[in-house]
């Protein structure tokens, strides 16, 4: 938006003020995320820049909080760092355990959400789908309904899943299955939104051409449709994964100590004794989200290119 030549002085002033305002808003958006990165290398247990950090004295910086992520919860944190020390880290360190849980739960819930969500998106984008609007509203609602209501509902449901049929059949609280199912439900809206958005630009005549050449519906899907919508499906899956990877309230309500995830560990850390170790976790998570954002952005461009949609 260049300044037009006919602008009067007042408009010129506003033009520059406007850009200053925009810069300020961008700073507001991004600075909280950037500020924690240097602070996570703080040599002191403070949450602010020490004198040594400001003067870029190397003594002001250290990796102690990253080291704490590995040693916290270990049996022998002070042993020499050989193979058995690393085994100890892998088996006992609290944050490593939490990371493993997060990845396992995130992986399976993403699989469930993506497979079911992609199938449903295929159905929803067909013109002849009955009650399309209503069903879409139901499938998106996990994103809209307050998480506390979902979590309390699941808490009661999981403590006896068969209650509505009037008998007992074990419980899903404190199980991986329970958390995976809950996170899959929360991830579904994102898969539906991204995959249906991809399918809007999909040329249905391609699958008709495949069918007319004798391909079975499943062959048409795997050879023609899936490769074309794959970028959208992967973006949806990444959204679902991030949703699970970042989810804390449902975990607080339905998971047991065995299903401790990274967000839950952070939650405890923030609520009880907040230590700069939280900032080092946060820094790692920011780096992961940068990687994910870059992937999604590349996928979106690729999807636009192979579908022949010009970016606008």
């Amino acid at each position: 938006m260049a300044l037009p030549v006919y602008a009067d002085p007042l408009e010129r002033l506003w033009y520059y003020t406007y850009h200053v305002i925009c810069v300020a808003i961008f700073v507001f958006l991004i600075s909280p995320i950037l500020i924690i990165m240097p602070l996570s290398f703080n040599a002191e247990p403070y949450f602010t820049f020490t004198q040594k950090m400001v003067t870029f004295d190397p003594e002001g910086y250290s990796l102690r909080w990253y080291d704490l992520l590995l040693t916290h919860g270990m049996v022998t944190p002070d042993a020499p760092r050989d193979a058995s020390w690393w085994e100890d880290v892998w088996a006992n360190a609290a944050w490593v355990k939490a990371a493993k849980n997060s990845v396992i739960i995130g992986f399976w819930s993403t699989i469930v959400a993506t497979v079911l969500g992609t199938l449903a998106a295929l159905g929803l984008s067909r013109a002849e789908m009955p009650y399309r609007r209503l069903i879409m509203a139901i499938l998106i609602s996990p994103m809209i309904v307050p998480i506390i209501i979902i979590a309390t509902g699941l808490f009661f449901f999981y403590s006896n899943p068969c209650a509505m049929f009037g008998f007992e059949c074990g419980r899903l609280t404190s199980t991986y299955t329970g958390v995976v199912l809950a996170h899959a439900t929360l991830g579904i809206p994102f898969v539906i939104i991204t995959v249906t958005a991809t399918l809007i630009g999909f040329d249905q005549s391609l699958s008709r051409a495949a069918a007319s050449l004798g391909a079975s519906p499943s062959r048409t899907f795997f050879k023609i449709v899936l490769p074309l919508i794959l970028p959208g499906v992967i973006s949806g899956a990444l959204f679902a994964f991030v949703t699970s990877f970042d989810e804390v309230v449902a975990v607080l309500f339905i998971a047991g100590p065995d299903q401790q995830t990274i967000p839950r560990q952070m939650w405890n850390g923030i609520r009880e004794a907040i230590s700069p170790a939280i900032l080092s976790v946060a820094t790692i998570l920011v780096l992961i989200s940068i990687a994910l954002l870059a992937t999604v952005e590349l996928l979106r461009r690729r999807s636009e290119r192979i579908r022949g949609v010009t970016p606008q």
Partner: protein
């Protein structure tokens, strides 16, 4: 017309109309079958659990299960009947049974919801219930004079059926009078409606702040050349992709008493070391952090609408003599209304049900209704939590319906 179409047939001799109808219903069935697995999944893992939980807001059998004799007495004696010996005899029978089954605590808890402080009345009376001698009225009143209070009897009458509206009365700051009517609780005890109001006001404030902050940058992004705006868009999308807990932590680090912002202000001499501003663990903290977290949800819909606005309208207005302010107000702003509506509704819906951020940075006065629901859940006050949830859910669903009407759910965009 009907004659002509009824004669059209397919190659195998079926009427064309019937063949088309069959093909269409087959296509409909196929489309539905693709959606069916997910729909079933969502119904089982999402809708049924919430429905089951909401049932608790109107169903509580803690008292009715353990007081069958009183239930019978209430059924035979309508509201306003005299509390005679037969009523107290029924009460004594039930109390003795409660002692045997160890259910006095449960029954007392149910009555305690409507009249705080009555749980101990049940537990202590049940302890000596099997030694009671007729006449029961005198015996029970001697045990505790509270048994003569009409309000306690009114509460027991209401609780003698497991289906109850008591929890909605509590959740709307109302109570029953001794004669079965309904009145508002004393002013200093009204908390729930006030908190609902506060949640809506805070959400409105956050939505407004998001709009004020999102409008300029969405406009900038929409008017810059594609390459530049894609680059700047990362600054909006990165917070969107960053963990909620990470963003909340960063704000704690920035805003707390010994935090970065206060330290900078002190070292610049703006405030004294003893004049550090409290910006977190209070309502201000909730507003700042939630505005930051929800801002991308406002920028994205605004941006996608502003992208489609052609600059030629504004130029035409200017060439016809409008000032830049008039052009903005009369030409540009009205065209962005769909984006404003979509963004504001979405942000408001998400803000009303927010839990994590107020819980972490809200302190005492920055809590929202979700936090109160969690509080009652943690106190095992499940029916009241369910009633509050139902009211919150009703509000959110109305807004969601409005969003679908005005914007359309399929227009939701995620970057």
């Amino acid at each position: 017309m009907t004659d002509a179409s009824s004669q059209l047939t397919t190659a195998d001799g079926r009427p064309l109309k019937a063949a088309l109808a069959a093909a269409q219903s087959r296509a409909r069935r196929r489309a539905f079958l693709l959606v069916a697995p997910l729909l079933l999944f969502v119904v089982v893992t999402f809708i049924l659990p919430i429905g089951q939980m909401l049932q608790r807001s109107v169903y509580h059998d803690g008292f009715s299960n353990s007081a069958p004799a009183l239930g019978e007495w209430f059924a035979n004696n309508p509201d306003g009947s005299e509390l005679d010996e037969s009523a107290y005899a029924a009460l004594a029978t039930d109390l003795a049974q409660m002692k045997k089954d160890k259910t006095a605590g449960e029954a007392g808890t149910r009555i305690n919801y409507t009249i705080p402080g009555t749980r101990s009345l049940f537990t202590s009376s049940a302890r000596g219930a099997d030694k009671l001698e007729p006449p029961y009225k005198e015996a029970l009143l001697a045990l505790d004079a509270k048994w003569g209070e009409p309000l306690v009897w009114q509460a027991m009458r209401q609780a003698s059926s497991p289906w109850t509206s008591d929890f909605y009365l509590i959740a709307t700051d109302r109570q029953r009078t001794a004669d079965g009517g309904v009145e508002q609780v004393p002013e200093n005890e009204r908390i729930y409606l006030w908190l609902f109001g506060k949640t809506f006001v805070l959400s409105a404030v956050i939505t407004f702040l998001c709009l004020i902050l999102a409008f300029p940058i969405a406009h900038l992004l929409a008017t810059l050349p594609m390459a530049k705006s894609n680059l700047l868009m990362i600054l909006v999308l990165l917070p969107f992709w960053t963990s909620l807990l990470v963003r909340t932590t960063s704000w704690i680090v920035l805003l707390q008493g010994q935090g970065v912002v206060n330290n900078i202000l002190v070292s610049l001499g703006v405030i004294g070391d003893d004049g550090r501003i409290t910006m977190i663990y209070n309502q201000t903290g909730t507003i700042i952090v939630m505005t930051h977290i929800l801002l991308p949800f406002m920028v994205l819909p605004l941006y996608s609408v502003m992208r489609t606005i052609k600059p030629s309208y504004a130029r035409a207005a200017r060439s016809l003599g409008a000032t830049s302010w008039t052009t903005f107000r009369r030409i540009y702003l009205p065209q962005t209304l769909p984006g404003i509506g979509a963004g504001a509704l979405l942000v408001f819906i998400l803000a009303v049900g927010y839990y994590i951020t107020p819980a972490l940075v809200g302190g005492a006065d920055g809590q929202l209704i979700s936090n109160l629901i969690q509080f009652h859940m943690s106190k095992s006050n499940w029916s009241l939590a369910a009633a509050l949830s139902a009211m919150l859910l009703a509000g959110v669903l109305v807004l969601y319906w409005l969003y679908d009407r005005l914007v359309g759910i399929d227009k939701l965009k995620l970057g």
